[in-house]
C-alpha cells in the first residue's frame, strides 16, 4: 500500500438514525455496505471523540448482554477498538433482537471527533465481519424482518442536512429512479464487488480493464476511487492539476470536460463532469482519489462511492448476490 495525501477530510458523509437498547438510546450511524460490523460510541470510552458524540450506556438498558471480547475495527479514515455486546436494535418500526454490536472503547480524535455521525452500521457480507457473530442484515433476514432480502440507496442531487437521500431496507422505490435496472453479479461475497469491463474517458476507451477490473460499491466512501496506476493518465486526460485541496480544474471548463463511462454487465453507465467535479466554494475539484490496493484476485480496484451513487440509485440484492443500478431521480 502506498500512502498518499488523503483528501477525504474534505468530503461529507450521509447518515441516519437507529436506536439500541431498552429503553431505546438514539444514534446517528453511517449505513456502510463497505464493512460488516455495527458499532456506536459507549460510556466505556473516555477519549474526546466519544465525549463529543452520543454514547451507549449499557447499564441503562435492560436488554443488554456483554461479551468478553474486544476487537479493533479498521476503516479508510481511521481505526478504533470495541467491546462486543448484544442488545435490541430498532430501525424505524423494525425491531432486531439480540443483535451483536461493538461498544467503542477508544476512538482517535482524528477523524472521529470531527465526524457528524456517531457510529457505523456495516451492510457487507458476513465474511468480513467479526467471526462468529451475525451481522445486522443476517439477523434481519433470520428474524423475517424484511419483506424482500434487498436494500437500496437513493442520494438526492440537492442534499441538505435534513434530507440527503434515503436507505430503504426490504425493497426499492421505483419513484426514486427511472428506466431499467442494470444488474451486475457480485464477484466475491465479501464486499459488494462487481466487474468493470471497460472505462472510457469521453469517446476514448482506455483498455485499462482489458484484463478485468473490480469495483466495490460503497456508500460509506464518498469519492470515485481510481486504481493508482491509472491516476496520472486520468488526470492528464482531464487536464487537472494537483493542489493542497485535490485535483483542480478551471470551473469554467467543466461543461466541456469529457463524460466518463463505466461498462458494467455490457452496458455503459455515464458519469458527466457535472457529477464528478465538485465545486468547493468556487474551487472545482475532480472528486477522485487513488488506491494502490488491488482486488483480492489481483484486478485493479475501483471504489464507486457516493459521488457515483448520486447518479445511480443502487440496489443490493442479498438473495441473488447482485447489485442493481438505475438512473437516479
Amino acid at each position: 500500500v502506498a500512502y498518499e495525501p488523503l483528501t477525504n477530510y474534505l468530503d461529507s458523509f450521509y447518515f441516519g438514525e437507529i436506536s439500541i437498547g431498552t429503553p431505546p438510546q438514539n444514534f446517528l450511524v453511517l449505513f456502510d455496505p463497505g464493512s460488516a460490523n455495527l458499532w456506536v460510541p459507549s460510556t466505556y470510552c473516555q477519549t474526546p471523540a466519544c465525549g463529543n458524540h452520543a454514547r451507549f450506556n449499557p447499564s441503562l438498558s435492560s436488554t443488554f448482554s456483554s461479551i468478553d471480547v474486544t476487537y479493533t475495527l479498521c476503516y479508510g479514515f481511521g481505526d478504533l477498538s470495541v467491546a462486543l455486546g448484544y442488545d435490541t436494535v430498532t430501525i424505524q418500526n423494525i425491531i432486531i433482537r439480540n443483535q451483536e454490536f461493538g461498544l467503542s472503547l477508544s476512538e482517535p480524535s482524528t477523524p472521529f471527533y470531527y465526524l457528524d455521525f456517531d457510529g457505523i452500521l456495516g451492510m457487507a457480507y458476513p465474511g468480513i465481519g467479526i467471526s462468529g457473530y451475525n451481522t445486522l442484515m443476517q439477523n434481519m433476514l433470520q428474524q423475517s424482518q424484511l419483506a424482500e432480502p434487498i436494500f437500496s440507496f437513493y442520494y438526492s442531487r440537492n442534499p441538505t442536512y435534513s434530507y440527503g437521500g434515503e436507505v430503504i431496507l426490504g425493497g426499492v422505490d421505483p419513484q426514486l429512479y427511472s428506466g431499467e435496472v442494470l444488474w451486475a453479479p457480485v464477484v466475491q461475497e465479501l464486499y459488494w464487488k462487481i466487474s468493470i469491463e471497460e472505462f472510457s474517458i469521453g469517446l476514448s476507451a482506455t483498455s485499462w480493464c482489458s484484463q478485468g477490473c473490480h469495483g466495490i460499491v460503497d456508500t460509506g466512501s464518498f469519492r470515485l476511487t481510481i486504481p493508482g496506476q491509472f491516476m496520472s493518465a486520468f488526470l492528464q486526460a482531464l487536464g487537472a492539476e494537483e493542489s493542497d485541496y485535490g485535483f483542480i480544474v478551471n470551473c469554467s471548463s467543466v461543461p466541456s470536460m469529457p463524460t466518463l463511462y463505466f461498462t458494467i454487465s455490457g452496458a455503459q453507465l455515464p458519469l458527466p463532469p457535472s457529477v464528478y467535479v465538485l465545486n468547493n466554494d468556487g474551487t472545482c475539484v475532480v472528486g477522485v482519489e487513488s488506491t494502490y490496493v488491488p482486488s483480492a484476485s489481483g484486478q485493479p480496484l475501483w471504489i464507486l462511492g457516493n459521488l457515483f451513487l448520486r447518479q445511480y440509485y443502487s440496489i443490493f440484492d442479498l438473495a441473488n448476490n447482485r447489485v442493481g443500478f438505475a438512473q437516479s431521480a
Binding site: L28, Y114, D173
Partner: protein, 43 residues
C-alpha cells in the same frame, strides 16, 4: 417489512474543524490509502 430511513448529509471534517477553530494545517499532511478499508488482513 420495508422501512425507509432518511439520510442526512453531514459536514466534512474540514468544515467541522473550521467551526471549532482548529488549525487545519496538519490535515494536509495526513496520508493513507482509501483501499486500506478493504484489506481483509487488516480487519
Amino acid at each position: 417489512g420495508m422501512v425507509r430511513i432518511p439520510l442526512r448529509k453531514g459536514r466534512s471534517v474540514q468544515e467541522v474543524m473550521r467551526e471549532k477553530g482548529v488549525p487545519e494545517g496538519f490535515l494536509k499532511n495526513l496520508r493513507g490509502d482509501p483501499g486500506r478499508k478493504y484489506q481483509l488482513n487488516k480487519s
